[in-house]
Structure formats: C-alpha cells, structure tokens
Point group: C3
C-alpha cells in the first residue's frame, strides 16, 4: 500500500516495515547583493526508516539520514513495552522539550521549523520512560540523556562527564470528547543538567529560518555549570484549522577564562524564543499535529482531482540575553535578537507527495559591524517531499 | 526472483523494491617499480537501492554508496510523472552529458569507464524534465543543476551562487523497426553555466583508466566564469555486437590571480576526450546498452552450462588545452595528453554474477620532471560483481 | 517471524533478507576521580543487514554500521559456492585469526570482547577459500588480504604494496556424535605478510575491556617488514555450560628511523594475549558458540515466563614485548601489561531482546609517569540489545 515495504507475521506480533521520507529543496535568497548567500538545490532529508515490533515486548526504529555530506543516524531506539502506561525507550531519540520539535519532519507546516526549536535539543542519546495515562488524555516522558546543545544533536558519546534530566507532561483533556475542544493540547517541558566544555558539541549556534547562523558565543567561552530549559507549549486543531504556540527558555552558566590562572568572567545567561503558527486547509481536510494526512481528492489526470491545499503563517522571535554582549558574544557578528514572519502554501497532490512554497522575512537587532543591524533575510524556499 | 526484495499492491500502483549492486575489485599495476602504486583489493561499489512507485504520479529511487571511507548518496531522486512525455525528476541524478556515464555501473563493458566520463558531470543536484517522444524514438532531458565539476559529483549544496543548464537529445530512429539499424542511437548533449571558485568542488582533476590522477590545475587557479560542455555521442548494437563512441569537450574560463590587486592572468581553456569501444558476446546472447542481461545457459555443476562470455576492446584519448601550460598547470606533474587502450573479458555465470578481467595501457605526453613523459601505466584489474 | 523481513522464491533458490542487530550501551567508570573518564550512553552497534542467496551459486551479505560518527561497512562479501567444501568469499570479511572475533557480535557473552581480539585483525578486505570437510567436523579458511592492523579494520584500500596471507583450521571431532565431547572444538590460525608504514592503518593501539587505549608505539615508529600472528584456540559447550580459551601472538618488524640517513633502530617485537571465559545458563537452555538463541519461557505479563538468565566470568592478559620499552614505546603512557577479570549477567526476555550487565577490573604494569602503574580500571557496562 502507500505505507512502505512490510512483512507481518500471521498473529501480527512480528511486524517489520521499511518506510521513507525524502525532501528535495530549492533555496533562494532575495535582495542579498550586499552579502550574497548561495542559492542552491539540496537534499534536505533522505530518511529511509526500518521499524517494527518483535513480539509484544519489543519495538524499534532505525532512521538514518543520507542527506548532507555523510550518513548519520537520526532516530535509533528500542522500546521495551512493559505497559501502555510505561514504555522504556533507549537510544537516540528526540528530546522531550520542543513541541514543533516533536512533530514529524514530514508533517511540519513550513519548510523549516521556527525559532523555539533552535533552543531545544534536537536528538539526544539516553533512556526515557514514557506513556499515556487517563485514557491517553495525559502523555508523559521522563528521561536521562548525555545532554545535547540547543538546536543540535548530541554527539555520539557524552562530551563531558555529566548527564541531563528532561521531562515533559502534555494534556489533551477533551481528546475523547466530540466537542470543539477535543483538539486542544497543552503542556510543559523542562530539562536540567550540568554542561562543561567549549565548541559545537556543547554551546549553541542559533540559525535563522533561512538556516544561516546569526548568533554564536566567542570561541574562548566555556559552558561551565548548570544548563536548564523550560517550555510551556500548546496546540489547537479544529477541522481544517490548526494553531501551535510554544515558548522555550534556555539558561546556561558560562565562563570566559582569564589570562592567567585567575578567575575569568562568569555569567548565567538565559536565551529565549517563541512562536505562534497557524494553518488552514483550503480544501477542507482535517488539520492535525501529524499534518494533512490524506487529500480527499488525489490529483489525477482524467478525473479532475487536485489534491489538498493548505496555507500557513507564523511569527516568532529569538532573544539573546543582553548580558551576553560584548563579553561572551561579539556584537559585530552575533545578533542580539531576530524576529521573523513566514507564509507558506502546501500542495498535497497525493498522500505520498507534498509540494511546499515558503516566504520568510527576518529582521535582526545587531549582528553587523559598528553597531549596525544585520541585513534583513528574505527567503523563498521550495520543497518536493515524498513520504511513504 | 532474481531482482530483489519487493512488495507490490494488488493493483500494481504501489511497488517498492530493494535491489543492489556490489563490485569487489582487485587492482594490480605492472612494471611500476619506478613509481610504485599499491596493488589492492577494494570494494569499488556497494549500492543497495530502494526504489518504487507510489501511485500513478510518484516514483523514487534512493541509492546509497557504502564503498569507500564514508557513506554517500549516489542517486536520490523523485519522479513526478505528469505524462510519459514529461516526467519532472528532482534530486541527485546523473547529469545528461556523457553517454557511457548514463550506462548503469553494472552494465558497463569495462571495469572503469573511459576518458570522456572524466569530462562529464558525475551526479548533480537539480531538477530536470525528461521524456520520450515519437514512440520512444526520441528521448530528451533538459534541466537546471547546482553544477558539478568534470568527472565528479556536485557537493551537497551549491558551492557558488550560479546554476548550470544542461540538455540532451538522443535519437533511435529505427528502434521500432526490425531491421539492421534498430539498435542505432545517436545524439547530442550540452551544458552551460558560470562556475566560480577554486578547489575540488569546482575545478577538475582527470584520472587514468587505472584511477590515478594525471592532471590538475595549480592550486591558486580559480574558475571564474563560463563553463560549457558539448558532446556528440552514438551507439550501435546488433545481435552479439556492440559499439559505443563519444566525444566531450569542456571549456572553462579560468583566472590565476595576480600578486597585488592587479588583474592576474585569464584564459578560456578547452579540454577534450573521446573514445571508441566495442564488445562481442562470444556465446551469442544479445549485446545492449544495458549490458548482457541474462546468459542463455547459466553455469551449473551437473548440467554443463557455462554462462555467457564477452570480449571488449577500446581506445580513447584525453587532451588538455595546450594553453594550460605552464601558467595554469605544472607540466612537471600534469600531463598534457593521455592515450589508452584496453582489453576486457567478461564472464556471466548467472544473471546475478559477473566476473571481469581487464588490461589497460596508457601513455602520456608530459607530466614528469624536466619535460619528460609520465611513465606508461599498465594495469590488470579484476572484478567480482553481484547485482540483483 | 522473529528473523527479519524476507522474500523467498517458490523454489527457495532466491532468498533475500533484511535483518538487524542494535546495541544501546551505558558505560560507567568507577573510582576514576584521578583521571576521569566520561560516563556515557552510546549506540555501540546499529547494524541492519541485507543478505541472501541468488540461485545455487551466489550468496551475499552486506552489513553497514550506523553507530558512531559516520557510517561504515562492517561485512560486505560475496560467496561463490562452487561446492560445500569450497566456497570462494570475496570482499570485507572477518579475518580468520581470533576465535572470539569470529563470534557474532550479538552472541558474545560479554559487552566487549577480551584481550586476544585486540591482536587479531578485525575486518580485512580480500579473497578467501573456505569450507567444511569430513562431515563438517573440520572447517578451514585460507585467504589473501590487504592486511589489517591488530584489533582494527583494514582501510578501504591497501595502505602498502604488500598483501597478507592467513589461514585457520578448526576441528570438532565429535560434532556428529551424541556424547559429552560433541561440543568440543579446537584449532589453530595464523597470518603472515609484510607491513610497511606508520600510523593507525598499520600499527596497533591496544585497548582495555573499558575500550580505553593503554598502549601504542611512539609516533615515529614504522612497521618495516614481516608481520606474523598465530593463535591456538578452543571451546567446549555442554548443556548450559560453555568455555572458550584462546591465545594470540602478534610479531612485527619495526624500525625507529635515525636522525640522518643512518640506519635507525630495528626490532622484531612479539606481543601476546590470552583469555579464558566461561558461561552458565541458569535457566537451563543450551549454551553455544552462537550464544543463547531462544529462551524456553519468554518473558510475559500474565503467563509468568521470565526468559533466560546466564552468568559469565573471564580472565585475560595482554603482554607487550619488553623490548618495546623505552625505544619503541613510551613507558610513561604505554603500559607493558594489562590483566583483567570480568563478571557478567545476561537476561534474555525473548529471542530478540538481551540485557547485559558487566563489571570488569583491569590492572596495569607501567603506563604512568615516573615508572608508576596506570590506575586500575573499574567499569560497569550495560547493554540493551535487539537482534532479529
């Protein structure tokens, strides 16, 4: 069928599937004559996925990423299903912090996720207990991980000797009711752990919706102590309409070492981001956290179907702690604030094909020489996505 | 069956297959005492492939390469099949320039492709429209790509801000006739686009049939302007006999920057290559552009079959623009011309197994110190190939 | 079923399977305050595997490794099955030297293999003839390879111009008898070949059971001549009990070049390692070289099964040639001897899931500044393994 190559034992207890998501993008930067960005075609994601159930106790998922210069693992985890309310998941997983982060890459409304995802761990390696309670109206995750920098993956082994704890609880109180609020979900996530060291495996580099870095710390800065994040988050889906809102704050103890063996400068800096994103399926299919799953009238040549169309809009901001400048970050290259809005049009000719057209504009405070603001970023991103 | 692991929906509209090609080679260099090359076993290609159709509109192919130091993507594309005469293909694809380049790696007559392929893009990332016209007697491709250097892949994103256009038209006028010319095909391909920058992602390095580099530009040389290629090409297959001929010329504007901010030296250099390759299936099976597909009498222990045998021979040359020396290339390390002939014997014990034995000899003009010629290259390459 | 996604032709001659082994580990180092090691979660192995038979003549196996920073090939070989007593295997294979090395990674009794495996080639690239003789009571392998350094893979091409020969013969004289000795096997393996050059592709670096390097040669040391290994080896399995013993000696001609063009210092150094490892399946299932294959009473929630439990213990040593110090190795960083014991508990809740808890302690002679001994290594390693 449309969902991959699979084999299932007669009693359905053994079930192994080969699936995939691939996203071919074209990126264009407008009005970038002053500081040209390379317009490009690229494979954004090429993710075949091997997943399955091995008896009632064990399930697994393995998703490599073939886009980019080398091949890496995106998701690789094993589930030990002691109980519907308590599954132990070990391996490389999405950290539980960000709401849009937890959306499937094939289901997000825009070509690239918004600012809050830049402050959430991308994937982390560890062990978590998760499950549904109260007839699935409450979902929880609590885990211990190596610890990932904001917006990126953890490295393959723990870069320091410290672990990170993270947890999330999410409520869908009317999930099982057939009323106007059945598509409402809200929750809170948080992480806490010590991080030590410097470099890209520990400290964050924040990117624009155009995927260009606009903030990083000075090279000599060290993470040296507690790193905490917290994130209130909510979504609401009703018929063809969807709304997603989230806020993430990430606070880290930093040290800029002194010249001798003296103390250097310490600070505890809190960066934050939020976004509000809405979408509307013009052709009337249901919106959901999983994206538009199936068009009612798939595109065809004789029978006149045109698939499903969806429009989307969002606004978001990312704010750097003002105490970061100028000691921990260079105001001439690192912006203190970015604010971005975006518009999108999604066409779903069939349940396997999605075509995306996005326009974003992002403004900055600082980030250029002599106290000037970094030039606005204007992008047109397109995507051809195949998922099965 | 012999063509991989597959699943097909009852109506045949969904069809997903897992296939593969693997080539284990042994390479020996003869008479190389003066400048020894390492004789070696190596995996030349390890390419499992996931491909399929997802309904009448969408098809895809994903082929990673596991041979070599890391894993990369060879082919990764999505087809949107608007019409038999017009398929939109996006992703990482074979550029349309070289004829032997377009042959499958499992179907080429020799262990390594000939000189013209060194001047064609290997794989490029972009979008192309392709299709068959006039009862498949005309095949066309026209596309826009990031732009790849001669003989190599494009990098994962565009290394400059310029795209490349390429097109190919190929005629098989008697394809549907049952006469002596039904196996004749000929055509023309060309590309044009600006390339800027230096290094291996932009400028070519040409290799011998033994896969050793014999030409590159000086390190300071920049691509700085128009890059055009054109290639007349033809093949002819009749019964057990096959013949393939192609010529490629690649012309690039180059700049060797001056010391100060002065102009430096500019040139527009045209390198070219051609080859003529013939093959003959001794056991009488049909030759084709796809290689010998299936032996009539597969190898077996009791029933006396021996599979199919094929002999092949070729001659080719690669000529560097004489204006390249000595400003843009160092005559002591870069040869001005290479000429090579090769002989091959292919044994197909079954439709999945192919054993290859090749001998090549290559002579050079220049490429050694004091105006001398680089030593002749004499190789014996063998291959064990499994494809399914 | 529980053994992967597969497709088989009606006559069983074509059979392609997708299988996998994944191991998620957690590593803790105890009492390491003086020289802290990073405790970490990590994916130790992520190995999907594509294997199959293509008619009576050809079989293949392709196993990539997705754990770690990049993706590499673990096993990739083609079998040409001329006869049960003579299969030609070409590609990247386990070298024939080490006994525990030849155990499947999913079947080893401990989280990490013992010291002898540090002296055996890991995987090598080449061609070998192998088969069973005398009703499978004798198994032999003889091959030619690029040559791999002790304990590691060979690089993708031969790093020098020399090949390595290796062979192994293994006897199970009572294999087909139903007596107390039917599970006895013993044999001898050896390799010989010239190795030349320096660096990690040629010279060994030995690791502890905690996977930390405790020995390497000085950076200027070259392999410069003959490298030989030999290894007597045996196992004995009877009902729930298993015992494995092996010894490996690895001897290499080394050169420390002199300052001028003078001779430098030469030596022929022999390092050796041995181990004795025993295991006992508490729940009574049969032990075997392939591990505990299937618990009699899989873990379940209502029916009270608890799976299989196994305990294991081992002792091993690795001895560096005393003539290595101080000329070829630095006694302040390279230990002259390591001795380690380990205890393990394995739980097999189902045929696909294995949970491992190991404790090891390792003591060193030398390897610290001022002639002191490197600190003892104490580890607790755990593993969640899924295999299908």
């Amino acid at each position: 069928n449309d969902k991959g190559l699979s084999a299932r034992s007669p009693d359905s207890q053994y079930d192994i599937k080969l699936r995939g998501t691939a996203q071919a993008d074209a990126r264009f930067f407008l009005d970038d004559d002053a500081a040209p960005q390379n317009d490009t075609f690229l494979w954004r994601r090429i993710r075949p996925s091997l997943e399955g159930s091995l008896g009632p106790l064990v399930a697994f998922r393995l998703t490599p990423e073939f886009a980019g210069d080398g091949t890496t693992i995106v998701d690789a985890y094993v589930d030990v299903k002691f109980d519907p309310a308590a599954t132990l998941r070990v391996g490389k997983v999405k950290g539980p912090i960000g709401l849009e982060r937890l959306q499937s890459a094939s289901g997000i409304a825009f070509v690239e996720r918004g600012f809050p995802t830049e402050l959430a761990p991308n994937r982390d390696i560890g062990a978590q207990l998760q499950g549904d309670l109260a007839k699935a109206s409450v979902n929880y995750t609590v885990g211990v991980y190596n610890g990932a920098p904001d917006g990126r993956d953890s490295s393959t082994t723990n870069p320091d000797d410290d672990f990170e704890l993270a947890a999330r609880v999410f409520f869908e109180p009317f999930k099982n009711a057939a009323n106007a609020w059945s598509g409402l979900g809200f929750g809170m996530a948080a992480s806490s752990g010590d991080k030590r060291g410097s470099g890209n495996n520990v400290l964050p580099r924040y990117r624009t919706p155009g995927q260009l870095q606009f903030f990083n710390y000075r090279g000599a800065v060290l993470a040296d102590g507690k790193h905490t994040r917290w994130s209130p988050q909510a979504y609401y889906y009703r018929n063809a309409f969807g709304l997603l809102a989230e806020y993430i704050e990430s606070e880290q103890e930093l040290l800029l070492p002194g010249d001798g063996d003296g103390g250097g400068t310490r600070a505890e800096l809190a960066n934050s981001a939020w976004q509000l994103a809405g979408s509307w399926v013009l052709t009337g299919e249901d919106a959901s956290f999983r994206g538009v799953v199936k068009p009612d009238n798939p595109f065809g040549f004789g029978d006149g179907g045109w698939g499903a169309f969806e429009v989307a809009a969002r606004y978001g901001e990312l704010d750097i702690d003002t105490a970061a400048f100028p000691v921990f970050a260079d105001p001439a290259t690192a912006a203190a604030r970015a604010a971005s809005w975006g518009l999108g049009l999604n066409w779903y000719p069939s349940s396997n094909l999605k075509l995306v057209l996005n326009h974003t504009r992002t403004r900055f405070d600082g980030g250029a020489a002599d106290g000037a603001d970094r030039d606005d970023e204007k992008t047109v991103f397109t995507r051809v996505q195949v998922a099965f």
